[in-house]
Symmetry: C2
């Protein structure tokens, strides 16, 4: 049989005090002119625990003018297998538990879906919004929401609008770091596997920057012309390079799947990874750990950025100042570039 819910009033009655006192004690609102005797405080806490009291979320929300719920909208468009969003969501879920916030988790794919979600993200429903995406989703409805006064933190490469609070990352840095890593491991002739979408440009620039920093130049023939981020595209490019008998000793791939495709083609052609060619990907996907040759990868730090986004949002909700920030990508070195740092690096 469904047991009756334990209300604040129940524990007040048991202790023969008023509900408001219990409320104050349980919510630690005893500053100023309010107070309670230490014995009373103890008794209240004990009784609450004994009865397994749990505040009725809706009632608290109603009187506190806080919904204690956050919207989390996720752009579900990462490369399959990268699971970028999963790590981020786990991080957010963890913190939301600690701070007793409920989540409105939604995935969207198109701008239309996004706009529909935005329409839902009302202050009567949530206290704030975390927007996880890959591209700077510059939707007008997002702008409306922000203007309406709802605290919003985005986790995009860079702010969709200057005034938006964002936890960003520089895509140029991602490939720059990747190139520098391979160069540090002795590579001199680097190939690049990317594609032609907007992300590509920044990453491509970063790759070039990494090379020129080391006084190297890229070979225009060692740049994939294929489209798409999937392994097949990379295999095709690699076969092409091998057919032309181009010389290269390292590959920066714009995704782990491309890196995997490159490794597939190299292994099939009898090349050794990392001895003959070193490979590095992007996203630090789960499968990097156990691929044929474990794949070195640059992480976009989604989990950390999500964590930061959560904390930033909570600050905003509490009216504290909360700046945007930019996170540095991190290298996870595995066998495909010669193994973890302790094996090869200084």
């Amino acid at each position: 049989m469904p047991q009756a819910r334990v209300r604040l009033a129940d524990i007040a009655k048991e202790l023969d005090v008023s509900p408001s006192l219990v409320s104050k004690v349980l919510n630690r609102r005893l500053g100023g002119r309010s107070g309670a005797s230490p014995t009373m405080i103890q008794a209240i806490f004990d009784k609450a625990r004994e009865l397994d009291y749990q505040a009725h979320a809706a009632a608290s929300s109603l009187s506190q003018r806080r919904t204690n719920a956050l919207a989390v909208f996720v752009h579900d468009h990462g490369v399959r297998g990268s699971e970028l969003a999963t790590a981020a969501i786990k991080a957010i879920a963890g913190y939301s538990a600690q701070t007793n916030q409920r989540l409105m988790l939604q995935y969207y794919q198109s701008v239309e879906e996004f706009d529909r979600l935005m329409h839902i993200a009302h202050q009567s429903t949530v206290d704030g919004l975390i927007l996880l995406g890959l591209q700077p989703t510059a939707s007008t409805s997002l702008n409306l929401i922000v203007q309406r006064g709802l605290p919003v933190v985005t986790v995009l490469d860079r702010s969709a609008r200057p005034s938006f609070v964002n936890i960003g990352i520089k895509q140029e840095r991602v490939t720059e770091i990747a190139a520098e890593h391979l160069i540090a491991r002795g590579c001199r002739r680097l190939g690049y596997l990317g594609n032609a979408n907007p992300l590509h440009n920044e990453r491509w620039l970063g790759f070039q920057a990494g090379l020129s920093r080391a006084g190297l130049e890229h070979n225009p023939l060692l740049v994939s012309t294929t489209r798409g981020f999937n392994a097949g595209a990379a295999e095709q490019s690699l076969r092409h390079w091998l057919d032309l008998e181009l010389e290269f000793d390292g590959i920066v791939a714009a995704s782990d799947q491309l890196a995997a495709g490159a490794i597939n083609a190299l292994v099939r052609a009898g090349k050794r990874v990392p001895e003959d060619v070193k490979v590095i990907g992007i996203d630090n996907s789960p499968f990097c750990d156990f691929y044929l040759v474990p794949i070195s990868s640059v992480s976009q730090q989604m989990a950390y950025r999500a964590e930061l986004a959560f904390k930033t949002l909570m600050h905003m909700i509490e009216g504290q100042p909360a700046p945007s920030s930019t996170v540095e990508p991190a290298i996870y070195a595995r066998a495909s570039s010669g193994g973890p740092p302790n094996v090869l690096d200084d």
Copy 2:
């Protein structure tokens, strides 16, 4: 500047009717002795849209005695890369949006964490609970929750207790289907890669069942003795089999990662997959699509089961009968077992 929230009363005042009428119309509670003129109904809907009215979730909850929130507790212990939980969560998130339910998403790893979460899953906080896991988590705190009257649906292999509503799957069937698939594709000497945890037993029995159905027997030497579900363990076993020059033409692996490890070892040894040896894994992980040889796999149907769990839970919450069910695993045939059905099968 934060705009004032639009309340029910605002739209009532504008239309010069009572709030309760607006409430009834907007919530489509017009059956029985309640009613409203078609013009009024239209006017109310129009005005609501015009003012961008959104019900205050907490207030509705409070008076309706429904929190409109669901707890989703996820056992985060799948094999890395399989992302079993992700698919399930996406499915649940989708439905929760449609039905306007908020989520309390939590991941747990240990029984202690689980018990702590259970303590949170109060009817004052959520209307019901979906529990996603792999092992039949028979926790006493779960039992308490169920007895307390909170609707709970589990997504476990099988019910933790007979009375619990569960969306299950037979692990025996998973490997049985896998074995049958390889046999149908011409394999006669099957090896098995698994390990020694509780899951193993059922899967091992299923594998044997699949063989004996076809009149085949297993070679005791072609059974991995390694521990763990990671690729390295599989590579080790394979090397052992190859060293002993055992004859085999198919491998059922108890996870995709084991299948990947097997493929790694086979390729390194110069064997062709699927021509010389066919391989099938379990979980239909994202990386199966683009592995060196794309990996055939048996899906545990987590997304579908989550969907079913959601619908079942909603039924329970609404007081309708909701039975447990068992879902049949599904084969995703890829190159490692000879390609998709249209290529090889009848």
